[in-house]
Symmetry: C2
Subunit: 116 residues, 2 copies
Amino acid sequence: MVVDELSDSEIDNIFHALADATRRDIFKQAMSREQSVSELARRYAMSFAAVQKHVAVLERAMLITKEKRGREQIVHSNPELLRRATELLDAYQDIWRGRTERIEEILFEPEREVES
Amino acid sequence: MVVDELSDSEIDNIFHALADATRRDIFKQAMSREQSVSELARRYAMSFAAVQKHVAVLERAMLITKEKRGREQIVHSNPELLRRATELLDAYQDIWRGRTERIEEILFEPEREVES
DNA sequence: GTAATCTACAACCAAATGGTTGTAGATGAA
DNA sequence: TTCATCTACAACCATTTGGTTGTAGATTAC
C-alpha cells in the first residue's frame, strides 16, 4: 500500500530529474555507493558546478539527499521515492489492462477539468 | 527478457514526456481509450495547438502513436514502451539491492567515461 | 599559518520548453 | 458548393534548462 500521495509537481520533478542521462548516471552511482559531490563530479566531463546543479535537481526531486560531513557533502539515494515512481508507471499499465480499481488507490487524482 | 535496448536519448524522451501533468493525463486518457487529438484537446484549459504539442512530445517518446482516420488523428498508446520504462526503474532498484547481475542485462550501458 | 580542497552561489549565455495567435490545407456534412 | 471541423505548422514570447566562469567561505592537510 502507498504511504502518502505525491503531488503533480513532485511527480514532475521526479521524471524531470530522470530525463537526463548524466543525472540518471549520478543517481545510479548514488544508489550503488554513497559518495561526495566532488567524488561524483570527477567522473563526468563537465564542470563541478554543472554536476552540482544536476545533484540539486535530483535533490529537489527527493531522489537523493545530501549530508554534510566535514567539508564534504555526501550524497545518499532515496530508494523509497524510486519505488513510488515505479508504482506510478505500474498504475498506467493497470489502466491499460482496465484494472481501474487499483488505480484509484495508487494514482488518485481529482478530475483534471475544463470548460463546461 | 528485454527485446532490444533503448538509447540514452530515447530514455530522455520517455521521462521528459512523463514530466508534465498534462501529458501524463493525455497518456492516461490514451491508455484507457483511443481518442482523436481534438477530442483530447477539449478536456484541457489550453489551446488546441498546445495540446497538439504535448501529443507530439508523447509521440516523440514513442509512448503513443497517431493513426489518420478521415480528417481525424486517432491517438493510440504504446504499453510496450511503458513496460520498458518500468523495467528501467526496476533496474535502479536492483542496483540498490546490490543485484548487479540482473542490471547487466536490463540496463547495460557502456561506461560513461572521463578524464584519464 | 598557509595552501589545497570542497562547496555554494552569482552572473552569464545559448537552446529548449510551454504556452499563445494566426494561417492554411483536408475532410466531412448540409 | 459551401460551411464547419480537424489538423499542421509557423511565428512569437517568457521562462526554464544545462552549461560556463568566477568569487568566496569552510574545512582539512602540511
